[in-house]
């Protein structure tokens, strides 16, 4: 599996930590699906995959990467689809 940049690794690592808590998931989804968020439509397009990525335990990344590559993705590419958080969430 190709190594990611620190920025991408952090996005995935901390996104997963936050995703474990239902309140954070709700908060992030509300932020990312806000029409004013520049990545809103892009997130909607890949939402199920991004949610699957964030829900997958890190120990399964190699398996996930193989699955994603069979679908034309990769762990690295999909990580970049996790939208950023701009400013404050609310």
């Amino acid at each position: 599996m190709r190594r990611m940049s620190y920025q991408d690794e952090a996005r995935l690592e901390y996104g997963r930590i936050l995703w474990k808590k239902a309140a954070n998931r709700t908060r992030l989804i509300a932020h990312w699906t806000n029409p004013r968020h520049p990545y809103c439509s892009r997130f909607q397009e890949h939402r199920s995959l991004v949610e699957k990525l964030l829900s997958t335990p890190p120990g399964n990344d190699n398996t996930l990467d193989v699955q994603l590559q069979a679908e034309g993705w990769s762990l690295r590419a999909l990580t970049r689809e996790i939208p950023p958080v701009f400013g404050s969430l609310d």
Binding site: R3, Y6, E9, E13, Y14, I17, L18, G87, S88
Partner: protein
């Protein structure tokens, strides 16, 4: 009063860590790397000289949900940044691979409330910086030497050349 727009003083680091320590409901820990770590060491030694060129962020690493949450919502443009003038840049655990072997045994630890903070030794903190070797990194290394945080930049440069675990940019 508006916040200082950059991190230049160890007291800014200390205040931030105390604030997070008081906010945590459960025990948690973070490892502070980068120039924030150097500033923390300077503060412990009562060094008042400001960090040249300053820094816009701190680079903590944590596995604890509550701390990750605090950090995730203290990014660039956050209310945290509006308040402090600088932001939090959560780093992945793999960034620790940039430090020389045995860094953990040389690191300092401090407890603030429920927060345990580990700060690698100044020499260890400077190894990834001098590997990157940007003008600001060299200035920070000189500042650390001039203020007695490290004895020899040459030794750190040697260490910086011997390990290369950088991921692709």
């Amino acid at each position: 009063m508006s916040p200082q727009k950059q991190l230049v003083s160890g007291s800014q680091i200390e205040e931030w860590l105390k604030d997070w320590g008081s906010q945590l409901k459960q025990k948690g820990s973070l490892i502070l790397i980068g120039s924030g770590g150097l500033l923390w060491h300077a503060h412990q030694r009562n060094i008042q000289h400001p960090l040249p060129d300053g820094s816009m962020d701190v680079d903590p690493i944590t596995q604890d949900e509550e701390i990750a949450e605090l950090g995730y919502f203290a990014i660039m443009g956050s209310d945290f940044e509006k308040k402090h003038g600088w932001h939090v840049n959560l780093m992945p655990a793999s960034a620790l691979e940039e430090l020389p072997d045995g860094w953990g045994a040389r690191a300092a630890e401090i407890i603030h409330g429920n927060l345990k903070v580990t700060v690698p030794d100044p020499e260890d903190l400077l190894v990834p910086k001098l590997r990157r070797n940007e003008p600001r990194d060299r200035k920070h290394a000189r500042w650390a030497r001039e203020n007695g945080l490290v004895q020899s930049i040459e030794k750190i440069e040697t260490l910086a050349r011997t390990r290369r675990n950088q991921p692709p940019s």
